[in-house]
């Protein structure tokens, strides 16, 4: 998982201007389900839906079959939720990062990673998200999440990640 948490506007405001405030909030956020705002002293803090572990928007990764770029049905509700969020927040711009496993040509994998990112983007476009809100990039096989020379690692790396600003 990404260690940085995005746009914690509410939480960081509550945490005041102490430079460690955001870090404390981040630590709390990592303890999924324990209540994000308690250590900040506010009982009614609004939880950022993008990072709330109970919210589908906290899920960001679409996984693909070998040499495939079709978005499988199991990821559609998640993609739809992000599309709705982007439609409701038309000023928010995201990046979708495509990745592949390590097998085969680096350049072909770069192209395949791009196609995976584009597949997620196209699905969001169909759901009404504007082109200008989504940038797609590919890392090909160059930035594997899982190291290892087996299907367990490869399946983790055949992936497109939805990334919000500041993440």
């Amino acid at each position: 998982m990404k260690k940085a948490l995005l746009g914690l506007l509410v939480v960081s405001a509550l945490a005041g201007c102490a430079s460690t405030g955001t870090k404390e909030a981040a630590t709390v956020q990592d303890k999924s389900g324990q209540g994000a705002a308690t250590t900040t002293g506010a009982s009614q803090a609004v939880v950022n839906p993008l990072t709330d572990p109970n919210n589908i928007l906290s899920k960001r990764s679409v996984y693909f079959d070998f040499d495939k770029s079709a978005v499988k049905d199991e990821y559609k509700p998640m993609v739809e939720a992000h599309a709705k969020y982007l439609n409701d927040h038309s000023d928010v711009k995201i990046t979708i990062q495509g990745n592949t496993d390590e097998r085969g040509s680096r350049e072909y994998n770069l192209a395949l990673g791009q196609r995976r990112a584009d597949a997620v983007k196209k699905m969001m476009n169909v759901l009404g998200v504007k082109d200008g809100q989504i940038e797609t990039v590919s890392f090909g096989e160059e930035k594997p999440k899982a190291s290892g020379n087996d299907e367990a690692a490869w399946s983790q790396n055949r992936r497109a990640d939805i990334v919000y600003p500041g993440e």
């Binding site: 040499d67 097998r103 085969g104 040509s105 680096r106 350049e107 072909y108 770069l110 192209a111 395949l112 791009q114 196609r115 584009d118 940038e135 797609t136 990039v137 590919s138 890392f139 090909g140 160059e142 930035k143 020379n149």
Partner: protein, 421 residues
């Protein structure tokens, strides 16, 4: 500056196999390289470097000159019967003379032991720092005289070294010596491609958080952005005259091939296909652009007339054929063929016959030596990225591993310009 020399190290098993195959062919030329007069006092022993170059090519059986005393320096010193008795067909002798101005005179002769005549004689005036380069030139002369092919010992190779999350684009002599870091980054670097001038490299760097193509002079370090369009910019390949490059862009959707001037500027789409088109390679005769495409459902190799026309599919065997490169004479294509693993394979372009060359299984990025006789590629050994080389006939195999880190993305540079350096 961070310099890691590559070490040539043939695997024991590999070496045993290699001797069987090459010995069976019985066509290695027996040659002896006699220590040059005066070289013992020099920082580099020319005869040792020449010997190592020739041995590594697999084309020669090196005859040990030790024990013939005194070692001949002039042709008149040579008693051919001694060398015939050792089985040498050819021998090299020479001497190094220090000039008062600090320069060195290097004299070298190649002798035919059987016919007892001189095959070549060359003199060089060099600085002491050029002794290694001079040895490679001598090895090139010997290789050319005895095999009839162009020697590639004076060329350079580029590759990417990954070490503790750091990526370095390095350039080394063809024997792996003298490695220098061209550029280092915390983000990946892939796809180095030599310009025909042998001084500039195009490559793809992720330092701007997405793939962008740079061109860099490896000797001066100067560089510029060649292509930074929306989306991915990758797979640079130079035209034979160096005036432009073929590149892969995603600015209009799926990855497609474009051409762009060598200084950058606008990119022109080469063709439109319904799939991924990438890995362009401009044939050295300028006639074709070879590329990988999955327009037919699986990644296969095609070629397009550089002047326009319809693309032809070249590979049909198997579901994964990628990364084409073509010999300088345009007769053969090397590529990666997936069949129980990813192997380096070679296609005769006239007959379309395919031969799998490597017995390694995770091969990538094959690159021809500029004489078309050796293929350098990346593979895995013990969980680490290493470089390997195989002769175009599959008989001679070598490994190049570093002491640490992963080595990948090799690219063999062009022949040095005639009259240069």
């Amino acid at each position: 500056m961070f310099i890691l020399p590559l070490l040539f190290a043939a695997l024991p098993a590999q070496a045993a196999l290699q001797i069987d195959i090459v010995g069976g062919a019985a066509n290695q030329i027996p040659v002896s390289i006699v220590p040059f007069g005066g070289e013992a006092a020099m920082p580099q022993q020319i005869s040792r470097i020449v010997n190592a170059d020739l041995q590594r090519s697999g084309m020669f059986k090196m005859i040990d000159p030790a024990g013939i005393v005194p070692a001949p320096v002039e042709p008149t010193d040579v008693r051919f019967a001694d060398w015939q008795a050792r089985g040498a067909d050819a021998m090299a002798i020479g001497k190094i003379i220090a000039q008062p101005n600090g320069k060195l005179e290097v004299h070298f002769r190649l002798l035919d032991v059987v016919r007892q005549m001189q095959l070549a004689g060359v003199s060089y005036v060099v600085s002491p720092s050029q002794l290694r380069a001079t040895a490679h030139k001598i090895a090139d002369v010997i290789y050319e005289k005895l095999t009839g092919d162009i020697g590639v010992f004076s060329t350079r190779i580029a590759y990417v070294m990954k070490l503790s999350g750091r990526y370095e684009l390095q350039v080394a002599d063809a024997d792996g010596e003298g490695a220098q870091t061209v550029v280092a980054s915390a983000e990946p670097i892939i796809s180095p491609a030599w310009a025909p001038d042998g001084q500039r490299l195009a490559y793809v760097s992720f330092e701007r958080k997405k793939p962008v193509i740079f061109v860099q002079n490896v000797d001066t370090g100067q560089r510029y952005v060649l292509a930074n369009f929306k989306g991915s910019n990758s797979a640079p390949a130079w035209s034979p005259d160096g005036s432009k490059l073929a590149i892969a862009l995603t600015r209009d959707g799926d990855t497609q091939i474009y051409t762009i001037g060598a200084q950058g500027g606008p990119a022109t789409r080469l063709m439109s296909s319904s799939g991924i088109d990438t890995e362009p390679f401009w044939s050295p005769d300028g006639q074709w652009i070879y590329f990988t495409s999955d327009r037919g459902g699986s990644p296969q190799i095609y070629r397009l007339p550089a002047g326009g026309g319809a693309a032809q599919r070249l590979t049909f065997d198997g579901a994964y054929n990628v990364s084409p490169q073509v010999t300088p004479d345009g007769s053969q294509m090397v590529f990666v063929h997936r069949e129980g693993g990813d192997h380096v394979a070679i296609m005769d372009l006239a007959s379309r016959q395919v031969q799998v060359l490597s017995d390694t299984k995770e091969d990538e990025s094959p690159s021809f030596a500029p004489n078309g006789k050796i293929i350098l590629y990346a593979t895995q050994l013990g969980g680490r990225g290493v470089l390997a080389a195989v002769s175009a006939d599959g008989r001679v195999k070598q490994r190049l591993a570093s002491k640490a880190g992963d080595v990948r993305e090799p690219a063999w540079g062009p022949l040095p310009k005639a009259g240069g350096q």
